[in-house]
Symmetry: C2
Subunit: 123 residues, 2 copies
């Protein structure tokens, strides 16, 4: 199609948007949600506090953390002894490396979306 799609659409502010995640053996385990959860764990030192910050149940947060830890050679979240709320939780260096990788991937995806938006709108 040589024409721009904007020849067909009414005046408006059009954008191509999207989401991105990583599957391991067909199961989605990594994406914006887990990365946000890890960020809150890093900031608060607590899976419980991180769950609250995201309006998520403690159980759900633990499930995500357990899935992340199960996929990686070294745990991404390390919980100190002293009980669930006693010991505190911290990110491992592996978690930081994966988050850095994620940010790079998001950056490339953002460039893809910008390019597609330009192509769509003919600007």
């Amino acid at each position: 199609m040589k024409q721009s799609i904007s020849d067909f659409l009414k005046e408006g502010n059009y954008r191509v948007r999207g989401s991105l995640w990583i599957e391991g053996d067909g199961t989605r385990f990594w994406g914006p949600g887990p990365v946000e959860l890890l960020g809150h764990i890093d900031a608060t030192g607590s899976i419980n506090q991180a769950a609250k910050a995201m309006g998520m149940s403690y159980k759900k947060a633990w499930e995500i953390v357990n899935r992340l830890n199960a996929m990686s050679k070294e745990p991404l979240v390390v919980t100190a002894t002293g009980g669930e709320k006693g010991g505190g939780s911290a990110l491992s260096e592996t978690a930081r490396a994966m988050i850095a990788y994620h940010h790079g991937m998001r950056e490339r995806f953002q460039q893809f979306l910008e390019a597609e938006t330009k192509r769509l709108t003919g600007n």
Copy 2:
């Protein structure tokens, strides 16, 4: 990060996946769902049959069609007179041009995802 992410993850079949859609003035109106619905309308000549094929209510299908028609200069779905179920529905040329554009965009997205999967797994 110079290392591959696969240095950190257990053995497995990892893939970068994603979804893509178009927003107009902040409202998502175009994506895999509407495109699939249009395909069923084209095949069956009926919004009602298309809704059934997708396990979607007739009301929901009409809402999607109305939103699509509202965004485009020419209607994407043209319903012949004779009542909702009497006249039959067909795609306009504009709809076909937009579906063709969508397929091209999906193709480029697929290439992006393949490239990211390769980068992720270091293959």
